[in-house]
């Protein structure tokens, strides 16, 4: 039970809902870290990240468009539009949507064109469709539930453990390392926005449903990537890429226990 529940702010109530789902949301990465075939599985998981990444800015732009339409008579939409107009540029990490994750996949030895040519991850397609339907039929504020996931990314120590276990070069973890630093900052700003918006109960229910649907579908996609390879199964695993030596850790962090803060 999240102690902030008692604060009864919108962001606290949303975090309470997310807390219920975190044991499931964290499961794929925790399981991946224990798999002996992690070097084969990690690129397939990163393809799921790519499919999510390439849809995020267009999705936020769609929410912004709906919010601008509603803004003249809707204070929630007006404030949402102002927030999205600030946040969207912060999420443009590359000229191509998802391009920064493609760069990481390239560092794993995968051909970017082959990755681009893969079919979309079905769960991510479903999530995008659900969000667009909520924007259109309910309210674009649903996007804030999806963005709440920025508060629950792998932290730096976990990413370092992933680097150690996969023995892939650090260049393949550019987005993981970047988001371990940026997303907690973005999450604080999101919570400030949530608490400042004049949300009604139905807005909060919509945001909560969006957050939980995102967790469910993204977790589902990562499970498929781990169990059967997901849509990336046809890709040739980068077995030729030699394990990185001498760059597994900085030398400051030396054990799993330290990496996890145990």
């Amino acid at each position: 039970v999240h102690t902030d529940l008692l604060a009864r702010s919108a962001s606290a109530r949303l975090r309470g809902k997310i807390d219920l789902a975190l044991p499931a949301y964290g499961a794929p990465l925790a399981h991946l870290l224990e798999r002996p075939d992690i070097r084969e599985l990690f690129p397939r998981c990163l393809v799921v990240s790519y499919h999510t990444s390439r849809s995020m800015v267009p999705l936020m732009e769609a929410a912004l468009g709906h919010a601008l339409e509603l803004a003249p008579g809707d204070p929630v939409a007006a404030s949402l539009a102002a927030y999205l107009a600030r946040h969207i540029p912060e999420e443009r990490h590359h000229p191509e949507h998802g391009g920064a994750v493609l760069d990481d996949l390239s560092a794993l030895g995968l051909d970017p064109d082959e990755v681009r040519a893969l079919p979309g991850t079905p769960q991510i397609d479903s999530l995008v469709a659900a969000e667009l339907a909520w924007f259109r039929n309910d309210h674009p504020v649903a996007i804030l539930g999806y963005l709440e996931l920025e508060a629950h990314v792998a932290d730096r120590r976990t990413v370092e453990l992933l680097i150690e276990r996969t023995r892939y070069p650090r260049a393949a973890f550019g987005q993981l390392l970047l988001h371990s630093r940026l997303d907690p900052v973005h999450a604080k700003e999101l919570h400030r926005v949530l608490d400042a918006l004049p949300l009604e109960e139905w807005h909060e229910r919509l945001i909560g449903l969006s957050a939980l649907r995102a967790i469910t579908l993204i977790t589902d996609a990562f499970v498929d990537a781990i169990v059967d390879g997901g849509v990336a199964a046809p890709l040739t695993p980068p077995t030729a890429l030699a394990p990185a030596q001498g760059e597994l850790t900085s030398g400051v962090i030396t054990t799993d226990q330290q990496l996890l803060g145990l």
Binding site: V1, L20, A21, L29, T219, V223
Partner: protein
Amino acid sequence: MSTESDSSNIERLVEAGLIDEESLIPDAHASFLNDDLSADEVDALISILQKLDKAKIPVVQNPYYACIPIY
């Protein structure tokens, strides 16, 4: 959104193992579950637990293990 009664949300969450026994839920938390959580949200949570169980992937409690960043 679903119109299932709020009280069934807690029962289903307890049954799915997402929260402790109903008798142990503080009043404030029970109010949160009853007032704010829709039956659709409960459905979404239970569905992913079933998916993980089928894949034999255990849930975790360590908040430092989050999902792979998505954008």
